[in-house]
């Protein structure tokens, strides 16, 4: 039933992942801490298209020399990113082996949920760095400045996962043995959480940069706060529908498993609160006088998301209690 050897290998891979991500975190921090010369934003050069000069458009010539900052910093950033990519590959191996060891999707308890969330987050980060356009970032910006935050968050997820939530590889309780909805509901919840986490990282960067800009000393290793705002909004605009879908898929499953699509179970309430707070963020972002406050609402939303996973699962008993340890 349970392949102990694979489960053991998966654990080893998790430990290795943590070491690698820690080194990656140090490298990114060194990059951020080095400060140094301001990174030159590419000049606003009109771009020719069909004989028409377009202001603000990007072309390959605009991106060529962006990383042309002083060499040591670039090296740290490069090492950090290479380590993050390696860590992501290791984590992917850990998650896949965990799944194979029990022959089911690897998100059946808190430990596995945390592991997979960290993997999706790390993979999104690596992917968004390799393909900035997907993250809604102009081509001449990369995500490496978020590296410190993302590797930090990955470690903050993996730490308690290993220390507090570790659960032996095993089969699931009957309520979770619904292959289709376990695969859909929980996986979308994980993906959405990971994108919310990425959005949170960008929002924190935005708030720090906005403060620095207010003092007239914008941080050179971060893009302008307006650009960070755009990226954060885009990430939230992707994860919010995913979260809504998570809640609705959960309701459909609840109808099947418990006979009622909405039970006001603590987990459902928590997810509902997360939904409401992020809805408020999106509204605030679209409302003139509230735009400056919007990032703070996003931060509150993420705090709720984290509480919904940790506090609600571990302290409040409800129908989702099996989602806790065990």
């Amino acid at each position: 039933m349970v392949n102990e050897q694979l489960a053991g290998l998966s654990n080893l891979a998790v430990y290795s992942t943590m070491v690698v991500f820690f080194l990656s975190f140090l490298s990114f921090s060194a990059d951020a801490a080095a400060g140094g010369s301001a990174r030159k934003e590419p000049e606003e050069q009109p771009v020719m298209a069909g004989g028409i000069a377009i202001k603000g458009a990007s072309t390959p010539t605009n991106t060529a020399n962006v990383d042309d900052v002083d060499a040591p910093r670039r090296r740290f950033r490069g090492i950090g990113f290479a380590l993050a990519a390696l860590g992501t590959a290791l984590l992917a191996a850990a998650v896949v082996m965990r799944g194979l060891s029990v022959m089911r999707v690897p998100w059946g308890n808190m430990y596995e949920f945390a592991l997979t969330t960290a993997l999706i987050l790390a993979a999104l980060f690596v992917g968004a760095t390799l393909r900035p356009k997907w993250a809604g970032l102009p081509a001449h910006h990369d995500l490496r400045w978020v590296g410190t935050l993302v590797t930090g968050i990955v470690l903050v997820i993996l730490g308690p996962a290993v220390l507090l939530w570790y659960t032996e590889a095993a089969q699931l309780v009957p309520a979770l043995q619904e292959k289709v909805w376990l695969a859909i509901h929980v996986f979308i919840a994980i993906t959405s959480s990971a994108i919310f986490a990425l959005g949170f990282a960008v929002t924190v960067a935005q708030l720090l940069q906005a403060r620095a800009e207010g003092r007239g000393k914008a941080m050179s290793f971060l893009p302008a706060s307006s650009m960070l705002d755009t990226a954060a909004h885009r990430l939230h605009a992707i994860s919010f529908p995913l979260w809504t879908f998570t809640v609705i898929a959960g309701a459909i499953w609840a109808q099947k498993a418990w006979g009622r699509y909405w039970n006001w179970d603590p987990k459902e309430v928590g997810s509902f609160i997360v939904f409401v707070v992020y809805a408020a963020y999106l509204h605030a972002h679209a409302t003139g006088g509230w735009r400056k406050k919007a990032p703070w609402i996003a931060v509150a939303g993420f705090a709720m998301l984290v509480a919904n996973f940790t506090v609600v699962n571990q302290l409040f008993s409800g129908l989702h209690s099996y989602a806790g340890i065990g």
């Binding site: 349970v2 004989g51 590889a169 603590p266 408020a280 999106l282």
Partner: protein, 524 residues
């Protein structure tokens, strides 16, 4: 207060209040308030989920607990303040979407917005020259816009294009679907019913309001006219985790019931009933909501006359199925007898007491205590079948040699064993045990509409957040070499690639550019 304010009058004030309520600021405030108001419902025990936990909490907290109860903190989602917030929010929402639907319907009929006079003043804009005639440039621009999915309109020296109408449609769909979900929930509440019954293996549950252990009908449900179907629990198999250690040991792995279902028309069928696999009959769904042990007990008086014999469902208290239950014997000798019992499926002597270490019945034992006096059954107040009303009961005592005094009577029994009650009260026999299934029955006419609105909700949201509404204009005026071309683009959302998009359109629109100067900005 100024004269203006006074002169508003009643209608003016009403309009002012309405405008305040439907303003985005109020909606935002209500949204955040709703989030905060929902928190106590997750943090505190709620009656709708666990009435027992609420009672314990109130008892522990004393007057603070009672005060919390008075303001509805244990029934948050039915409390007036929570209802007030969400009802205001929905009124605000409706007040917001109704005018928007009207505006949107109008915008669908109107052609794209006319070309602004000074295109190059817009942040995303450009200008250049073409060797083609203005007509050819505009033809090219219109074709490029059409190809990119724009609605276009030509007027004079310019062409205007607009796309992304699905954005607002999605937004409105999302908000209307929210109202739809609320209405569906209300329908479930009014016209639905639900109930629970504990059915031991071999027993039949006949559907009617009276046979439920708990029955919750909606306000518009006629409890006399429930469909008379019947469910017989033929067999019930369980499996628990035996291999993995730690918290996983003893976790349930499989609950599997075979049931005979007889519907209202008398048609009979045998079906599987499992968690996640409910059985549908006569518009109701039957769910396997829980399970437990039901010991079979026979009680005789001192004259060997049977005063009680039956199968009693016990309620599991923990993951190892340490189960508790009571037996009430109103006609036992001169006094009434109450038995309080704990069933341990795999009993092991712990430090202080007997504990169950595994949920399956490997070493079952029944531990009983006895009480005599008045069970309180005749007081006309409905009583829990899972608890003894201790107010007029005395524990049966027994002399304890070790302590040298009378202590409450306790007896441990394996299946088949009997225990002699002190004071010539007779015997209790633990004949054996069976399992029971907790069946949850629900009729919910609101669930299908709720599902439909839920799907619309997500679909609308995706359109609203991921579709971009873009407007693009091209203007071409004659020049010596061909045409001077101006273009611009606007978006009503964050749109980092708008300039690239405009560049792409320009490329497609203007086939024969004048050779560009190195600076890239030809002089018009």
């Amino acid at each position: 207060m100024s004269d203006d304010a006074i002169s508003l009058g009643a209608v003016g004030w009403a309009r002012w209040m309405w405008r305040q309520l439907t303003s985005m600021r109020t909606a935002l405030f209500l949204l955040l308030l709703l989030a905060i108001a929902a928190i106590p419902g997750a943090a505190l025990p709620q009656r709708s989920i666990d009435p027992g936990a609420v009672a314990v909490f109130i008892a522990d907290q004393g007057s603070v607990g009672r005060a919390m109860d008075a303001v509805g903190l244990f029934e948050v989602y039915r409390s007036p303040w929570f209802s007030a917030i969400y009802l205001l929010l929905f009124v605000s929402l409706i007040g917001c979407i109704v005018p928007r639907v009207r505006v949107y319907a109008g915008s669908l009929r109107r052609p794209p917005a006319a070309t602004p006079k000074y295109l190059t003043r817009l942040p995303i804009s450009g200008q250049g020259e073409s060797e083609s005639s203005p007509e050819a440039v505009l033809d090219g621009a219109e074709a490029a816009l059409k190809k990119a999915g724009y609605r276009t309109v030509r007027s004079g020296d310019s062409v205007a294009g607009e796309k992304g109408y699905l954005r607002e449609a999605g937004n409105l769909t999302f908000h209307c679907a929210l109202v739809g979900v609320l209405v569906s929930v209300a329908v479930s509440h009014q016209y639905g019913y639900s109930g629970q019954a504990l059915v031991p293996v071999g027993d039949t549950f006949t559907h009617s309001a009276g046979t439920y252990d708990v029955f919750r009908p909606g306000a518009a449900v006629n409890s006399e006219k429930l469909p008379p179907f019947a469910v017989t629990l033929k067999s019930f198999d369980v499996a628990f985790e035996e291999n993995a250690g730690g918290a996983q040991l003893g976790q349930p792995r499989d609950f599997d019931a075979d049931v005979d279902v007889t519907d209202a028309s008398g048609a009979k069928s045998t079906q599987k009933l499992r968690v996640n696999e409910p059985v549908s009959v006569d518009g109701a769904d039957v769910f396997l909501a829980g399970n437990g042990y039901a010991p079979r007990v026979t009680i005789k008086d001192a004259q060997d006359k049977v005063t009680y014999s039956g199968t009693v469902p016990f309620i599991a208290q923990d993951g190892m199925y340490t189960s508790s239950g009571v037996i009430k014997v109103p006609d036992h000798t001169a006094t009434q007898l109450g038995i309080q019992a704990v069933f341990l499926p795999t009993a092991v002597q712990g430090k202080d007491s007997l504990v169950s270490v595994f949920p399956d019945a490997r070493m079952p034992e029944l531990v009983i205590a006895a009480y005599t006096g008045d069970l309180g059954l005749d007081r006309g107040v409905p009583q829990s079948v899972f608890r003894l009303d201790m107010r007029r009961l005395e524990p049966v005592l027994e002399f304890d040699e070790e302590h040298g005094k009378d202590l409450p009577f306790r007896a441990r029994m394996r299946p088949g064993a009997s225990a002699q009650l002190p004071d010539n009260l007779g015997t209790v026999t633990f004949d054996g045990f069976t399992r029971y299934a907790a069946l949850s029955v629900r009729h919910d006419p609101g669930k299908l509409p709720a599902l439909v609105f839920g799907v619309l909700l997500v679909a609308g949201l995706i359109g609203s957040l991921l579709v971009r509404r873009r407007r693009v204009w091209f203007r071409a005026t004659p020049s010596a070499s061909g045409a001077i071309v101006e273009c611009a683009a606007l978006s009503d959302s964050t749109d980092p690639h708008l300039a690239d998009h405009l560049a792409m359109l320009s490329q497609a629109a203007v086939p024969q550019p004048v050779a560009a100067t190195p600076e890239g900005v030809p002089h018009g």
